[in-house]
């Protein structure tokens, strides 16, 4: 895909490179097993995230985690979980191609996201992630810094969401 990049001084919107992405459902009591397989301590509380190099884990439900890794590690991670399945029941699904990641950075990042996201983003801690809505499209929003967010959008919703962000950037740029 041609990566469209839209920016002005206060905020920029960029399509980020793909990652290996998994949805993990496992009993919270077995979290240590999942952490050992994935090589990163999975956060226990909804909204929290953990990151080490290219591995990241975000707790998005009481027994649900979103995992990120380098694309080359995808099959090794899957076989690690496959090996543990007999002892520790869980479900892990590869979502790598389902979503496109949009990076939103700059001092006006919250202003831009707030045009379509109903959350009070000033309350969201850096390093946390939430499943939420962006103008009726379900998304996962990750906060990487005070002025840096990533939006994970289903491929089929991408033209709609990215189009709204482009309009938002233009409106902010002319001072609306």
């Amino acid at each position: 895909m041609n990566a469209p990049v839209t920016s002005f001084d206060a905020v920029s919107v960029a399509v980020l490179p793909p990652v290996a992405r998994f949805n993990l459902r496992i009993a919270p009591a077995d979290l240590a097993v999942a952490s050992r397989i994935f090589g990163l301590t999975l956060p226990a509380k909804i909204g929290e995230g953990a990151r080490n190099g290219d591995r990241a884990a975000y707790c998005i439900g009481p027994d649900e985690w979103l995992l990120h890794a380098a694309e080359v590690d995808q099959s090794a991670i899957m076989s690690g979980f496959d090996t543990a399945r007999a002892e520790t029941p869980h479900s892990i699904t590869v979502l790598s191609d389902r979503e496109i990641i949009i990076g939103i950075t700059g001092p006006a990042a919250i202003d831009l996201l707030s045009t379509c996201c109903p959350l009070d983003l000033s309350r969201m801690a850096v390093g946390h992630a939430k499943r939420t809505v962006f103008d009726y499209a379900q998304v996962v929003l990750i906060r990487d810094g005070d002025d840096a967010f990533r939006l994970e959008v289903w491929r089929s919703f991408f033209p709609h969401v990215h189009g709204l962000l482009e309009i938002g950037v233009r409106e902010l740029a002319i001072g609306l």
């Binding site: 909804i46 909204g47 998005i60 439900g61 009481p62 649900e64 109903p118 959350l119 939430k130 499943r131 939420t132 809505v133 379900q138």
Partner: protein, 99 residues
């Protein structure tokens, strides 16, 4: 915007993240074939339609994904409290609705 407390996320979040799912605490009959037509009709369709504090199911569909229950005043649209699925309806008699 109306904020709804999700007992799993332990946070008050925008109504747009939630879906309403009907009256709470309606148990599916253990032995449906033992029911009369009238009893089955009542289970499927007859609801209390409270004017006042109503126990109802909600789902945090654009969030943690979980179903939970809430007490909401159907006159003021004010949420009294919310609680996890499977927990009994809290006794809120004499308690003012949460702000």
């Amino acid at each position: 915007m109306l904020l709804i407390q999700c007992p799993y996320c332990d946070d008050a979040l925008p109504e747009l993240e939630f879906a309403y799912a009907g009256e709470a605490h309606i148990d599916r009959p253990q032995d449906p074939s033992a029911l009369s037509d009238e009893e089955w009709r009542d289970f499927l369709f007859i609801r209390s339609n409270v004017k006042g504090v109503h126990a109802e199911r909600w789902r945090h569909i654009n969030g943690c994904g979980r179903f939970f229950n809430a007490l909401r005043d159907t006159v003021s649209d004010r949420f009294v409290t919310s609680y996890k699925a499977g927990e009994p309806r809290p006794d809120t008699s004499g308690k003012e609705p949460a702000q």
